[in-house]
Subunit: 198 residues, 2 copies
C-alpha cells in the first residue's frame, strides 16, 4: 500500500482513534450472518489488484452520481446551497483509500476502530469536524447510509471485469465486494443506534 | 395474488396500520439513491412469476440459514433458549407473503405504511406482540437487520435462474431484487433511528 501520510484527515491506526466497543468476537458472528468467509478475503485481495489502477475512475463514477443528485450534493454544501469543494476533495482522497483498505487490510481491531471513526464522521458527533466543513448539514441521514449500498455495489462490477479474470472469478470478487460493503455500512451505523439496539 | 386472510398477523392495508411519516415524495428521492427505476418494477414483476412456485423452497433456504446459526435462532426463542415453533411458523407465512408483496405490490403509501409496521415488529415497540411470543428477545439488533441484506439477496439468484429466462434477464431481475431488499431494509430501520436522523 502506498504511503497514506498525505491523505487529509486519514487517521487509520493512529492513537487518536478510539477503541470501538465492537470486538472481534462480535465481528466473527456478524460475518457469519453476511456469509463472509476466508474465501471472500482472498477474492477481495484479487479485487484490490484489479481495482488499484482504476481507483480514480471509480471515484469519478461515484462523485458523478452524487453530483447528479441535488439531495446528495447537499451533504457537501452549506445549508444555504454553496458547494464546498475542499470538503469534496478531502473526502474523495479518503474514499479512494477506503477502496484500498477494503480490499487489502486485515479486518482486525484496528480496522474495527476505524470503522467506528468513519461512522462518527457521518453522524452528528463528528461530521464536518475533520474537514472544517462549517455550515454543511451535521449528519448523513440513516436512509442514505443504507441506500448507498446499492450504487457502491452495482457500479463496481464493470471495473472488476476489466482485470482479465474469468467470469466466475468476477462473480466471486463481486459477491465478496457486496458482502464487504454491507459489512462496512453496518459498522458505520453504530453511532446511529440507540443504546443497546446495535 | 391469492387471499391473504389466512396469514396470521398479516395486516397489510388494514385500518389498524398507522400512517407512516415517510411519504411518497421521500420515497421518490430514496429510489433515486438506490438506482431504482420503472424498469426495476417490471423486472420485479417478472421475478414474481418466477419465484411464485418456489416460495416454500426459498423459505426452506432462509429458515435453514437461521436454524444453522444459534445467534439468529435466539430471536425466535425464549431468552432461556427454548425455540418457539408457533412464532417461527407464523412469521414464515408472512415472510412468504413478503416475497409476493415485494414482487407484485405497488409501492404506494399503503405499502409504505406497512413497511413501517414491519419495522416496528422488529423493534422494541412491537416485537413479539403480533405472535404472542412471550419471552423472546424484544428487538432484532440493527446489525442483523442490515446484515440480512446479504443472504436474502445472494440466495435468490439460483431461484431466479429456474424460470427459463435469458442470463441477461436473470441479471436484471437479480439487480431489481437487490435494490428492493435494500429499500425494504432501509424503511424497516425507521423505528431504530433517533429523532431527526432517519
Amino acid at each position: 500500500m502506498p504511503s497514506t501520510a498525505s491523505i487529509p484527515g486519514y487517521t487509520y491506526g493512529n492513537a487518536e482513534v478510539a477503541e470501538s466497543p465492537f470486538r472481534l468476537d462480535d465481528l466473527a458472528i456478524l460475518k457469519q450472518t453476511l456469509l463472509f468467509t476466508e474465501a471472500d478475503v482472498q477474492y477481495l485481495r484479487m479485487a484490490g489488484t484489479v481495482l488499484e489502477p482504476q481507483v480514480e475512475a471509480i471515484l469519478d463514477v461515484w462523485y458523478g452520481f452524487v453530483a447528479a443528485h441535488p439531495h446528495l450534493v447537499a451533504y457537501f454544501s452549506t445549508t444555504q446551497g454553496a458547494v464546498l469543494p475542499d470538503y469534496l476533495a478531502r473526502v474523495r482522497a479518503r474514499f479512494a483509500q477506503w477502496i484500498r483498505d477494503t480490499t487489502q487490510r486485515e479486518y482486525d481491531q484496528t480496522w474495527l476502530n476505524y470503522q467506528m471513526e468513519i461512522g462518527l464522521r457521518h453522524h452528528t458527533e463528528k461530521k464536518n469536524h475533520t474537514d472544517a466543513a462549517a455550515g454543511a448539514p451535521t449528519i448523513i441521514p440513516l436512509r442514505y447510509m443504507v441506500g448507498f449500498i446499492v450504487p457502491i455495489t452495482l457500479t463496481i462490477k464493470e471495473f472488476l471485469k476489466a482485470g482479465g479474470h474469468s467470469s466466475a472469478e468476477v462473480e466471486q470478487m463481486y459477491a465478496a465486494w457486496f458482502k464487504a460493503v454491507v459489512l462496512h455500512v453496518t459498522l458505520w451505523l453504530q453511532p446511529y443506534a440507540q443504546p443497546g439496539e446495535f
